[in-house]
Assembly symmetry: C2
DNA sequence: CAGAAAACGTAGAACGATACACGTAGAACA
DNA sequence: TGTTCTACGTGTATCGTTCTACGTTTTCTG
């Protein structure tokens, strides 16, 4: 009688019961919960004890009606890239001693993409949003930022004032790769980018690549191929590039996953790495280090990016309204794939 | 004046405004929202139109106070394994035409682990939870299931009645690997498992391995090494195994990531794959297919698992209370790493 | 055609927390 | 002594939905 079919188990302890148990007002308990002004140490202790004794946990939905939910949303384009795992680690480290929790949404797999998952997060009263590798245009990002604190990771827009950004210096990253390739003796250095008009990090890496080529006097050899990210397309593109009459002797891939696939294609074509063709990636994901890959790559300190993004977001939630733009320097990790001789 | 510092932008449209605009009661709008009984087509149309015109979106926090939040929680042990991406795709496909949204929590990175993230999800009034690769014991799982609909993916407990499970047949998977290795001529087949007392899928795979060995008359060569999942430990273990006097001529790794690392170590030791040592993994992640890896692996149809888990969960949310246990057959994908000669 | 049942719609009380407006006690100051 | 602060607590309206209870209209049935 007391519990219907849908009523799973014992009811939750409410703030009212805590208040009663501690012999104080509901408002006092709420204050303790929020670390708000106006509670003495003795009262706090009493309340805390009652909370523990009763096993009280605040209900986020109810909190959200008036205040915060202490939840931040992390939007990832997909889950496949292990680089995002590093970011996530940083986020969770930053959240360690706070009341906040991070929940992840995947934009790629969702029907209408990034905007849909962001709207869903706003509907769920998240306190702020970290957008990773944003594909939305400025207008949409502004629309989000107008409603919730927003931090974009992997999105260059240094003059924006409505939200914060956290990046590595992708331009410098691209340049570092080319410099090392040149130093290793490669000349016909190509780049594989992404068919995308919205990725600012890609644009930056391309600029870096161009700069590197030009400063090495290889301006005439600049060769950027843009392809979608599906395995099939990458294979076709890589094959075409590597079978061309004047094929590149090195390829800088905008992300590791592509680079690993290019290694695969090159191997199948009987080309030796790094002697016949040098290959480098970006993100320094865990797979780079495997002996069978030995992939040179740019490390952009994902954990630090995640940590910093979270800090900035919480600052925003707590009231900061001036934009901040954080940039870490990239670091090239040289491995076998670009070390001939 | 109208908006304070924390009041980001324009206020949301509420159900009340929709009701007013449509000239009906608030309750009627709510009924339309929930596809509840007792609304005529004309009323529904009127309300829908007003909702569109005003750009109304229901606030999950408010819904959660009385009813559902239309949110399901997906708990992953970590984000690094691309296999989880397949599951996620299945989940999102299943959610396609529903009001539900999936949000992901990562248990590994969180301080107190799985239980903490599940509690956080319950605090946030999620309607149900999908737990992937559960590490909690039965008592804890029961405690969760007592409060919210629960589906465990990658957790064998076929006699449990309080929640549903979705699995591939891990025992059969292990057996398939051994059979193929035996057929390929390997004899001293070892297995690398995980240092864990709670993973039932691991236990099943081990049983499959044993079965396979015994049925091939190799019972005396059974050799299971259990190691943690950190890169460093795997390296050390792999090195030790491959440098032992009577080293295995094939290694079945409980998951692809370990297998790739073992390939790496073997390569560095100058062992040829598959001639000197055969290697197989589990999950058939995207990296298996790369030419430089060519890793044989078990495909357990992650997408199907995710789809099915979601369906079962929604059934549970809608009232089913009898347990269901879904199992897909595994499929061995043979590649170079176990194909000598 | 009466009566019952089904369909449609409404009003208003929850849900569990927060936040605002206030009250009170004691200290500090003139 | 009276006034003004400050620190600490309390009472209660409120957030945006859902849900229960209950009227009213329409449709069905014998």
């Amino acid at each position: 009688m007391a519990s219907t079919e849908k009523d799973k188990g014992n009811r939750r302890v409410t703030i009212r019961e805590v208040a009663e148990d501690a012999g104080v007002s509901v408002a006092a308990v709420s204050k303790v919960l929020r670390d708000a002004y106006g509670v003495s140490d003795t009262l706090r202790a009493k309340v805390r004890q009652s909370m523990d004794a009763l096993g009280y946990r605040p209900l986020a939905a109810a909190r959200g009606m008036r205040g915060q939910t202490y939840t931040i949303g992390l939007v990832l384009p997909d889950i496949r890239n292990p680089f995002f795992s590093d970011i996530m680690t940083g986020v969770n480290n930053a959240l360690e001693r706070t009341q906040y929790r991070a929940l992840i949404g995947i934009s790629q797999s969702s029907a209408t993409g990034e905007m849909a998952i962001v709207e869903a997060m706003i509907d769920r009263q998240m306190d702020g949003i970290i957008l990773i590798g944003a594909t939305e245009d400025r207008a949409n990002l502004d629309a989000i930022a107008a409603r919730k604190p927003l931090v974009a990771v992997g999105h260059h827009e240094p003059d924006i004032t409505t939200f914060d950004t956290v990046n590595n210096n992708d331009q410098q990253g691209g340049q570092l790769v080319v410099r090392q390739m040149v130093a290793a003796g490669y000349k016909r250095i190509a780049m594989i980018g992404l068919k995308s008009t919205t990725s600012t990090i890609l644009a930056e890496r391309e600029i870096g690549y161009r700069r590197g080529m030009i400063e090495a006097g290889l301006g005439s050899a600049i060769n950027i191929v843009q392809e979608s990210q599906t395995l099939r397309d990458v294979q076709i593109t890589a094959r075409r590039m590597l079978q061309a009459p004047n094929r590149p002797d090195a390829i800088f891939c905008w992300t590791d996953f592509i680079a690993l696939e290019v290694i695969s294609v090159a191997t199948e074509l009987g080309l030796r790495i790094p002697e016949d063709v040098g290959i480098a990636g970006y993100d320094n994901t865990v797979y780079c280090d495997f002996a069978q890959n030995g992939l040179s790559s740019i490390d952009q300190s994902g954990e630090l990016l995640g940590l910093q993004a979270t800090r900035l977001l919480i600052e925003r939630i707590q009231g900061r309204s001036q934009a901040e733009h954080f940039v870490v320097p990239p670091r090239l990790v040289i491995r076998r794939s670009t070390s001939p001789g």
